[in-house]
Amino acid sequence: MTITADQLFVSLKHAIVGWFPMFAQPLVSILLSVSAILLTFGLLFAIATLLERKGLGRMQNRYGPNRVGPFGLLQPVADGLKMLVKEDIIPRHADRVVHFLAPIALLASVLLAYAVLPFGRNMAPADLDAGVLFFFAVGGATELAVFMAGWASHNKYSLLGAMRGVAQLISYEVPLVISSLAVVMMVGSLSLVKIVESQSDFHWGWLGACHVFTPWGLVGFILFMTAAAAESNRSPFDIPEGESEIIAGHMVEYSGFKYALFFLGEYLGMFAASGLAITLFLGGYNAPFSFLNWVPSWAWFFGKLFALLAVFIWLRGTLPRLRSDQLMNFAWKFLLPMTLLNIAIAGLWRYAAAWSLPGGAMTRWILCAAPLVAAYVWLGRALHPHIKPRTYRFAEA
């Protein structure tokens, strides 16, 4: 078997598994995959926190952390050490068991989602037939963890944060699922590996056939990313944390390593959601241009992941936090109608391929994009509060 850069990790795993007796091989294979995911994404978490702090700093006209190590590169190590040696405080009136289980439940449900993501060619840990469904099912369990944390802490701020968190997570789960439904419809499969494979060929021989290059794919991608930001409690949808109003929401009563676990869970959730967005819309591990096909598939996946991470950091550096009612309005009055329309447009796109339209592909594109743009403008206008300038009856303005 020849070892290529593309299949480097797959070959490595096969070689290691081959050293073990037959009956132990499935277990070894599982352990290898799990430890690889834990190591890779744990490391990515460290890198992401550093990049985030540095990037945010630059956006706010200052240097980020630059004291620990060269250019502050060892900052995550210092952060980790600090978290580890901090005292682990459990409030006296807290429900000790649930308080202890909440961060574990969050991390476990988030980590399970990685089981179905294809990180590279032949590199999906588990190719489930209902991969998308599995992803959302385990992703839905994070709500439970957030509420466990808020309830068990026996603190008003925690409970408020948890209530906000649950309201937000449930609201945004709907557009998240429906926006990915369009892809499932078009591909005709819930398997993430099949969805990636459907995007592996090239338009006109050079441009990758990613779903994001279609009208419904582009809109679906933006809607998905918006909902994913809310799902992973990222700014501007970070009201469950809301450090300026409810300190840290459900994480108020957590300190030390448990707090770090919550933090880790949130970042891993963001990576998982980004990974799903890459798989569904950005062509997964496929190269976006045919002349870049020589780059290993896993490098494409992680390159795209870093790009989405940069977008998340950029958004966090730009947008202020939404109010609770704005958040709900946005989810139910804007995202949900847009995602529903997007499904219909996906159907239109599918059938318009067979029609003989004047102008060919261009007309098909415009035909599908026009209703989406119109709906965007109209719904966006409806979202405005329509507050007129105040008039004073009895006083001079």
Binding site: R58, N61, R62, Y63, G317, L319, G380, L383, H384
Partner: protein, 203 residues
């Protein structure tokens, strides 16, 4: 339209991000212990004693007249004049202490000093381990050369130098008209019985 504000904001943060690598206006941080802002010329915080020449002990302009000690509102100055063997007061301070934990930087000592002997320093990194004794500055720590004064407050120092030179010229003309005007050396001046330069009050 929905989203235009978001795009505007995104453009601004992107300009901040890229600008921070080449545009100093978008990254204004001065990394303090390593780099410092140059102090403005009018920066002042605590007084120091000016000495002429190289010897901080002999060159002190201070004649221990105690005016500043008496005028100091928080009374942070403590002076003991030097005495010779017979117990006669010499115009030179034996002790000159300023407690900068008490000093309020009012500059009244500067205004009342007839000898331009006490001036304001710009040194601001003064945190010490000892709360009392380390903040009580003695004559040795307070004495700084006229060159240093010229360096931290050039305009003001030039003014003072000119005034002192003028006074010196007047005085030498009065005592020995034939003697040429030399460099303003206060060593002989402070120990000579001749009258000190006229009190110079800044306008």
């Amino acid at each position: 339209m929905l989203g235009t504000g978001i795009i505007k904001g995104l453009v601004e943060t992107a300009r901040n991000f890229t600008g921070s690598y080449h545009d100093p206006a978008r990254l204004t941080t001065v990394q303090y212990p390593e780099e410092k802002h140059p102090l403005p010329e009018n920066a002042r915080n605590f007084p120091f004693l000016v000495h002429d020449g190289d010897d901080p002990e002999k060159g002190l302009r201070c004649v221990a007249c105690l005016i500043c000690e008496k005028e100091c509102p928080p009374q942070c100055i403590y002076i003991v004049a030097e005495r010779d063997e017979k117990g006669k007061v010499i115009r030179h301070p034996k002790l000159f202490d300023i407690d900068i934990s008490v000093c309020m930087s009012c500059q009244i000592c500067l205004e009342v000093c007839p000898f331009d002997a006490i001036k304001m320093d710009t040194e601001f990194e003064l945190s010490k381990h000892g709360r009392f004794e380390d903040l009580l500055l003695h004559k040795q720590q307070l004495a700084k050369s006229n060159d240093y004064y010229r360096q931290i407050h050039p305009t003001e120092a030039a003014e003072v130098d000119a005034r002192l030179a003028e006074a010196k010229a007047k005085q030498t003309a009065k005592v020995t008209p034939a003697k040429p005007v030399g460099q303003a050396s206060s060593l002989s001046q402070s120990q000579s019985p001749a009258a000190p330069p006229a009190p110079a009050v800044p306008a």
